[in-house]
């Protein structure tokens, strides 16, 4: 038998989600939910394009000021609007992949976010990215935790056994 951790403290995993594409989000959430299933405490730190995954699917695009509103209008985000990083083909490739995911009984990104939340995975938007893009906490879905900065990430990462940048 392998040696078991004697401490009651859970092992940690920290994932930086920088990318906002469907396939990369899928990879991040598969690893996060599996880590949580294996008894780990998982933090997902969303920055830059990764924030798109957590944006609300409905409602007006966020943003303070006309330019930032425009940015968030063009860069709308929302788990249901994510594109594949390759093979998007004006939506045809992405639509096909979503269909294949469904046929394989794989949860959608939307369902993965809900599942992750239920399993205790923390999803944290990066405060700097939010500031730069003019996004407040109201821009994000309800499963999302409060904003945090790089120091929070470093502090979590230095205690983590697994750290990933996706």
């Amino acid at each position: 038998m392998p040696e078991q951790a004697k401490t009651t403290e859970k092992e940690k995993m920290t994932i930086v989600v920088f990318s906002g594409e469907l396939d990369k989000a899928l990879a991040a959430f598969i690893i996060a939910t599996t880590g949580a299933s294996m008894g780990m405490e998982v933090n997902m730190f969303f920055t830059f394009w990764g924030l798109n995954i957590l944006k609300k699917n409905e409602g007006a695009p966020g943003g303070k000021g006309i330019m930032k509103k425009m940015l968030n209008f063009m860069n709308r985000g929302g788990s249901k609007r994510l594109k594949l990083s390759q093979f998007h083909m004006f939506g045809m490739g992405t639509g096909m992949m979503k269909q294949f995911m469904k046929e394989s009984k794989l949860p959608s990104i939307d369902e993965f976010i809900q599942m992750a939340k239920d399993m205790g995975v923390k999803m944290i938007p990066c405060s700097t990215s939010c500031g730069v893009m003019g996004l407040g906490e109201g821009a994000f879905r309800e499963e999302v935790g409060s904003l945090a900065g790089a120091a929070f990430f470093i502090n979590e990462a230095r205690q983590s056994k697994v750290t990933l940048f996706i």
């Binding site: 392998p2 598969i30 299933s37 294996m38 009984k105 794989l106 949860p107």
Partner: protein, 75 residues
């Protein structure tokens, strides 16, 4: 192999069998055995790994006609 509970994961791919196993294990009492039936070959590597990390005991597996039965005992 005899099991106290069975979990059907046929047709599911990674990570769903592991996610469902960890949820199901919460219902088991210590010492009880869970049988997981799956057809995703990844489970042959994933379940022993899951057991090693979580401290539950991996008892073995049986494979027949593309169907894989794995057994884990709750610690």
């Amino acid at each position: 192999m005899k099991a106290d509970h069975t979990l059907d994961c046929v047709g599911l791919y990674c990570p769903m069998p592991i996610v469902k196993t960890s949820q199901k294990m919460k219902e088991l009492k210590s010492g009880e055995v869970l049988e997981v039936v799956a057809d995703d070959k990844g489970i042959k590597q994933d379940m022993p790994a899951w057991a090693q990390t979580t401290g539950n005991e991996f008892l073995g597996m049986e494979e027949s006609g593309g169907e894989i039965k794995v057994y884990v005992k709750k610690k």
